[in-house]
């Protein structure tokens, strides 16, 4: 048994499995992020949704009433990855310039020994957190203030909890395409962990 969702795609109703929905959502978000010009984007996106809706209808029969993940994968292959679709090249540069933000220092919850301070500093300066950790230990034993600095940073520096904060921590611009990629990465990691546990 699987849970399904009901979606409206180009004014057509479809029942879709939860995993298939997630895959489609990420794909459409990435396409949306690919085109920066808002006038063009809504037209292109609605045309693409119409076509996907048409392709979905061809895959629905009396015996198979639900869109499954294989359908979505197949349709993504037919429509193509945003990078293959092209035409977004110029627009994308504009997109980056507009939403690019300065990097921020966060504690990295995905790369932590104690509070994620060294992991975050490593992300900020693009150096291996291990080197930061060794430096901290040297300062700690050499001068006796390393631990104090660490504790202050632990208190003062916020943890990167949301996707936006994690992108800011890495210095990646926060736009739909990047969030899409990030969500996709997370999704793949969860999937791998899950499959790992099943074995």
């Amino acid at each position: 048994m699987k849970k399904t969702l009901t979606i409206n795609l180009a004014n057509q109703v479809f029942h879709i499995d939860e995993d298939a929905f997630l895959r489609l959502r990420v794909y459409l978000d990435r396409i949306e992020g690919h085109f920066a010009d808002t006038n063009e984007r809504s037209d292109i996106l609605s045309d693409i949704e119409t076509r996907i809706s048409e392709l979905f209808s061809q895959r629905i029969t009396q015996q198979k009433q639900v869109i499954v993940i294989q359908d979505v994968e197949e349709i993504i292959r037919i429509m193509g990855d945003p990078a293959e679709i092209g035409g977004g090249d110029q627009a994308e540069t504009k997109d980056y310039a507009r939403v690019s933000k300065p990097k921020r220092l966060y504690r990295d919850p995905d790369n932590r020994v104690l509070g994620g301070v060294c992991g975050g500093i490593g992300q900020y300066f693009k150096i291996d957190p291990l080197i930061v950790r060794i430096l901290f230990l040297v300062v700690f034993f050499g001068f006796g203030i390393g631990l104090l600095i660490y504790i202050i940073l632990w208190i003062v520096v916020p943890e990167a909890r949301t996707t936006t904060q994690k992108l800011e921590m890495r210095g990646d611009p926060v736009n739909a395409s990047n969030i899409g990629n990030f969500v996709k990465d997370e999704f793949e990691t969860v999937k791998k962990n899950f499959q790992g546990k099943k074995k």
Partner: protein, 110 residues
Amino acid sequence: MIMDLENVKAQMRKGVLEFTILAVLSKGDAYATDLLNKLKESELIVVEGTLYPLLTRQKNAGLLSYRWEESTQGPPRKYYALTEKGREVLKELQASWKGLIDSVNSLVNQ
């Protein structure tokens, strides 16, 4: 240096795609899926998504217009048609295409 052959082929297709869209539409109005089928038959398009940004840009440039038509199955269809400006651009492209073929042929067959 090893050339990325697939990339060169893709660039070649890309260059003529806008021209072929106009040429196909000059023979009669069509909706996106008709166009897709024709372009895929002649192997000008690999992934379908390529078509939509081109159609939207040609429409915004005033080369195409569109109208909605009800469909017996699925959502309403967006039928594209060439505008007067589109026909003029097509004429120019046809002329430069002939010129291009002649020069390429004369170089290749030398």
